[in-house]
Amino acid sequence: MAVAATTKTGARPSRAGRRLSAPAWVGTVPFLAYVAIFLLLPTGIVIVDALKNPNGSWAFSNVTELGNSLVRGYFIGSFKLCLISSLAGAVLGAILAYAIASGDPDGAVRRLYLAASGVLAQFGGVTLAFAFQVLIGPTVGLLFHASWYYSFPWGIALIYTYFQIPLMVLVFLPAIDGVKVQWREASENLGASAWQYWRYVGGPLLMPAFLGGLLLLFANALSAFATIQAWENQIAYIVPQQISTALSSEVGLSNVNVADLLALGMVVMVAIVMTGYALLQRRAARWLR
């Protein structure tokens, strides 16, 4: 019996008892190499270039550029849009998740909404903007004409909630499922009204998961680009749009560094948010497994 450490490409195990003596982790090299080249390398390039001058020398002071009012404006714009859409998405998504969770665990409704959430959480971008344009845009507006459709951030925030809510459902539903029936019954038995239950037990237990979901939605909105670009591409409101402008503008090499800088700023923001999310998830998992 030939026992061989095959690589992930499934190289045929050698016959006749000859052993490949490579350690097991060699099998993960293709994956690691791929990720290194196409994920870590670009990220590294962004960080490095952000901290360099156009002529190639190091300039850590570039980071202070992030403080200038113009750049700040984009970050504030991003922040506003993300905050509104993630708050709305989190609250509404939580309500929807609760409605789904309190029904028959094997029922058709639950499966339908879960499946829909899976698809709709991904449904963003250009096509979503088209859909809303047709629904409530000033020109077509099959449902009605919303004069605020092109307002920032409210118009675009509405569109963002379309994919934020399903994402919240996907993330928050397991938490609600993890709330044990016994906690409700025990608190009732001890004399709690529904309101007291939520205030002292249900609420606190779900809070980490809720906040985690909120952060995830925030990060999700931060990264979004296609939707807002299709919605309105003449004015750059948020960081991704400004990155796009910087990249496609032809005003010399200096703009590449701007793009890198903005990208760096974005990465830092998202990283902070995602760390918060991970910490909250761990707390939620401990209580609601």
Partner: protein
């Protein structure tokens, strides 16, 4: 896992003859809440899709019906090269390539790590979830130089798949991880090995067939991702479905073909999802 307020375990509705007990009233109030919520949210989610569909069937005058937009999918020239149809083609090809590469890269590696290189699990998890923290827009800025080199050789948009695989990692990873967790990998691989199977056989003939649902899930997510991808293609100046739709919309904001294509793509995704859930149900879980 019991739902939060399933206080009475009655599978059926409240039987007749029960005096309106407290639990029954509570259940009724809850059901009312649920129906209201589902209706409102259902409307919110369905209306834009309906609008998309309705407008795609719109004729030249508002209120009329016409299939023009749909017929145009195949023939629309658009603002530049290529016509819409070839953009669709490219995107579909990209989707297939991305799915294949993602699966080939992820699946054996995940199983291998699970079986033989346990200590890399955490690392892999972090790497696979990293793209969520490094958004496409950032990736593009860093990929620019890399792709510039490739551009020299004037390769087609298909080269985008290198980046798409990265984008798909978090979703595919999570789907596959769920499937892997549902299978007692250690035990069945040990059993297979004790019967004389090589590692290759263990991975592809023993474990993978048990992960069919998860694999299909991962494929669906990857597929949906590629069909919907815009940012990277747009900023690297390639053309795919979304970019093409975008440029059409810049020139003719209400071109019917935009909506028919969008609706078709969406429909396609839903059909795939339905198929997936059918397969899932027949096989039971995982």
């Amino acid at each position: 896992m019991a739902p939060v307020t399933a206080l009475n375990e009655t599978p059926a509705a409240a039987p007749a003859g029960r005096p309106g007990g407290l639990q029954v009233r509570r259940r009724r109030r809850l059901n009312l809440f649920r129906y209201v919520v589902f209706t409102l949210f259902g409307l919110f989610f369905v209306l834009p899709l309906l609008a998309l569909g309705r407008f795609s069937l719109e004729g030249s005058k508002l209120g009329t019906w016409s299939l023009t937009a749909w017929r145009q999918i195949a023939s629309y020239q658009g603002s530049g090269i290529p016509p819409l149809l070839s953009a669709i083609e490219i995107t579909l090809e990209l989707a297939v390539i991305t799915c294949v590469v993602t699966m080939a890269l992820l699946l054996p590696t995940m199983i291998w790590i699970r079986l033989r290189v346990r200590w890399l699990t955490r690392t892999m998890e972090i790497l696979c979830l990293l793209p969520l923290t490094i958004p496409a827009i950032v990736l593009v800025v860093g990929l620019g130089p890399v792709y510039n080199r490739i551009q020299h050789y004037e390769l087609s948009s298909l080269m985008l798949f290198w980046a798409y695989v990265i984008l798909a990692l978090p979703y595919a990873y999570r789907a596959l991880a769920a499937g892997l967790n549902a299978v007692d990998v250690e035990t069945i691989s040990e059993a297979a090995r004790s019967l004389g199977a090589s590692w290759f056989t263990v991975i592809f003939r023993v474990i993978v067939p048990n992960m069919r649902q998860a694999i299909l899930n991962a494929l669906l997510l990857t597929w949906a991702l590629v069909l919907g991808e815009f940012t990277i293609a747009y900023l690297l100046l390639y053309s795919n479905l979304q970019v093409e739709l975008y440029s059409i919309s810049r020139n003719t904001p209400n071109a019917g073909v935009l909506f028919s294509t969008s609706f078709a793509a969406l429909l396609f995704a839903f059909i795939l999802l339905l198929i997936l859930s059918f397969v899932g149900r027949r096989r039971g879980r995982g």
